[in-house]
């Protein structure tokens, strides 16, 4: 059974149909990319999955449960975690606190144990901090736990967002343009990080990305969107050869073979 399945998802804004009848299936443990020109409805689709928008029509089934009527925080607690296109960290909180917020759904501390620092509270906080430090090391942010998030360099902020998303122990990670604004070396590093996350933690990854090097390098399946519709789906090689995709990106009559060029 698919981990995530969407059935005829539609989202309209006034007269504009941003997502139009998207059917999509994603199996557990895969790395899948959604690509498409700017304004193709990719981020809107993400926002429908994570509950920031409620789709006007259609269903979203995740891990056997319908998601499309839930609030974003409920969806997060069901194991769907995300990052944002334009980094949205809690800038005035420290790095470790950002990660601890990501664990919110798993922390059981009651107000009473919080107020009186009962042993259960202390134990849980300690474990949470240890786990947060592990995650910092995992994404390559060791030793900056007390820095304010806004003071991290750009690449560090991207990594912190990933660590914060991982903190919720998600079944699936939604990454919205995780390599945007990175130099080739950094891009290389996060690409490896994604693969590690999937291989070691078994977390399914769905990403939106414009950088074709990342997409072609990492994806096992690519889904192409244009004007709110899914126009193609397939392996990187299939997508590379798909004329409709090339048309969507480069317009009619474009020369095949230019798909390696970064389209952002």
């Amino acid at each position: 059974m698919a981990l995530l399945e969407t059935v005829d998802v539609v989202k309209r804004f006034g007269g504009l149909t941003a997502v139009n009848k998207v059917n999509f299936k994603l199996d557990q443990g895969r790395i899948v990319s959604i690509i498409g020109p700017n304004g193709a409805g990719k981020t809107t689709f993400f926002n429908c999955l994570t509950g920031i928008y409620h789709p006007d029509e259609g269903q979203i089934i995740f891990n056997g449960r319908p998601l499309h009527r839930l609030r974003p925080d409920q969806i997060a607690s069901h194991g769907l975690s995300r990052t944002f296109q334009n980094i949205r960290l809690f800038g005035n909180m420290s790095v470790i606190e950002n990660i601890l917020v990501g664990m919110h759904v798993h922390l059981r501390q009651s107000p009473l144990s919080t107020l009186f620092h009962l042993p259960s509270f202390k134990k849980e906080e300690k474990e949470a901090e240890l786990k947060a430090e592990e995650l910092m090391t995992y994404v390559g942010l060791k030793g900056v736990g007390n820095e304010l998030a806004k003071n991290l360099p750009y690449g560090g902020q991207r990594r912190l967002e990933i660590a914060r998303a991982l903190a919720a122990d998600p079944l699936m990670l939604l990454l919205d343009e995780p390599a945007a604004g990175m130099n080739p070396q950094e891009t290389e590093e996060v690409t490896r990080l994604f693969r590690r996350i999937r291989d070691q933690k078994g977390i399914t990854i769905l990403l939106i990305e414009h950088d074709m090097r990342v997409v072609m390098n990492i994806s096992e399946l690519i889904c192409v969107m244009d004007y709110g519709e899914k126009i193609a789906e397939g392996t990187p090689d299939e997508i590379r050869a798909d004329t409709r995709v090339i048309e969507a990106y480069l317009g009619r009559g474009a020369v095949a073979g230019q798909h390696e060029k970064k389209v952002a």
């Binding site: 804004f13 006034g14 981020t43 926002n47 920031i52 928008y53 944002f84």
Partner: protein
């Protein structure tokens, strides 16, 4: 001359007048029907009996006889709210920011207008003025109020809001609350220094207090005269003129186009060669002028003003703007009229309908209940589009 006439966009002049008539008639009819139905229902209960004992008149008759006067009063205050609400809505449209100090800009307008008239009265000019001169003096006061309020609004924006334009949302709002408080006491201080007191009374002159009578109606043993005071007519006519003018400015001129462009997107507008700062100043100027004129009109209608006079009209006008759909100018007009009517109807009939348990004294919080209900059930307002926060 011909070319000038040709260049005037008649449609943009007529459209708002049509809207105003529609909104006024619509809300009058709807509210009157509701009130009359309520009266019919309550007539058979203890409420109706109490009234018969007290005034020897059925609740239905009582309501019916009072309705025309209530409708006119409601319309008058409704147009004042609409004029103030436009100031909130224009600024919100351009900056997405609640100009909390707008209520004091309104108050400053009122004070400047009233002070000028008081000065004229002191020199004996007002009492000897012919009817024509009386109107000219009133127009002078309104224009002076507009200029002062407009200039103040621009200054406030320059000093207290512009440095904060890129801060988080609540920062300029807090600054605006500060400006509001500061201005209240500055008015008070200035008035105390110059005239020794801060409650000012609009001088009586001209024929503004005169009532044009339509006729008399019997209500039990007493007679009720139906009429409309010249004041109310002046308030409504001036408000209509201003609203038409504003609508024309925004929808049919180059400047208006620039304002709308800035409201859409600052950076794009500036790429198109629009001086965004200038347009924002202009928005504050126009909004402030409308508020200032509304202030003088308010003083004309209610006679007494004090430095805190802006607080409730300001909040109600804000409610009106939200009710109509903030950022939407037609909405502000509709919201103002509807709120003024609702409030006057409620204030006039609630006391009788609840047998005195709750009456006019709740008029001021009535608007808040509406604000809260609107924000919960239809945050985009009556005419606004759904403005979902971008993720």
């Amino acid at each position: 001359m011909k070319r000038f006439l040709k260049s005037i966009n008649i449609r943009e002049l007529l459209r708002p007048i049509g809207q105003m008539i529609l909104f006024s008639l619509g809300s009058t009819i709807v509210l009157s029907v509701i009130v009359l139905l309520l009266a019919l229902i309550l007539d058979r209960t203890v409420v109706g009996q109490t009234l018969i004992e007290r005034l020897n008149v059925s609740l239905f008759t009582y309501t019916l006889v009072n309705l025309p006067q209530v409708a006119i009063d409601g319309l008058t205050i409704g147009f004042v709210y609409a004029a103030i609400a436009l100031g909130y809505t224009m600024v919100y449209g351009v900056l997405e920011f609640i100009n909390f100090a707008h209520s004091e800009i309104f108050a400053v307008g009122a004070f400047v207008g009233v002070e000028i008239l008081i000065a004229l009265e002191k020199f004996g000019i007002l009492s000897n003025a012919s009817l024509v001169m009386a109107y000219i003096y009133l127009i002078l006061a309104i224009v002076a109020g507009m200029l002062a309020a407009g200039a103040l609004a621009v200054t406030v924006e320059r000093v207290a809001y512009r440095p904060l334009r890129h801060a988080s949302r609540l920062v300029p709002l807090i600054s605006a609350i500060g400006v509001s408080f500061l201005l209240q006491d500055v008015i008070r201080l200035t008035e105390s220094l110059t005239s020794g007191q801060f409650n000012r009374i609009m001088p009586t002159f001209g024929n503004f207090d005169h009532r044009i009578l339509f006729g008399k109606m019997a209500m039990g043993a007493t007679q009720i005269t139906l009429g409309v005071s010249i004041k109310s007519i002046i308030v409504i006519v001036s408000a209509v003129l201003m609203l038409v003018g504003l609508n024309y400015l925004v929808n049919a001129t180059r400047i208006g186009k620039a304002i709308r462009a800035v409201a859409q997107d600052h950076s794009t507008a500036s790429l198109m060669g629009i001086d965004v700062n200038r347009i924002i100043s202009l928005t504050f100027l126009v909004g402030g002028m409308l508020g200032g004129a509304a202030g003088v009109l308010y003083a004309l209608k209610f006679t007494r003003i004090d430095p805190f006079v802006g607080f409730f009209p300001g909040l109600k006008a804000f409610t009106a703007a939200v009710l109509g759909g903030i950022g939407n100018m037609t909405g502000a007009l509709l919201g103002g009229i509807v709120l003024g009517m609702l409030e006057t109807y409620a204030g006039s009939f609630m006391g009788v309908f609840t047998m005195g348990a709750a009456g006019t004294e709740y008029k001021d919080i009535f608007a808040f209940s509406i604000l809260i209900l609107v924000l919960i059930f239809r945050p985009q307002g009556l005419m606004g589009e759904n403005v979902a926060q971008k993720a």
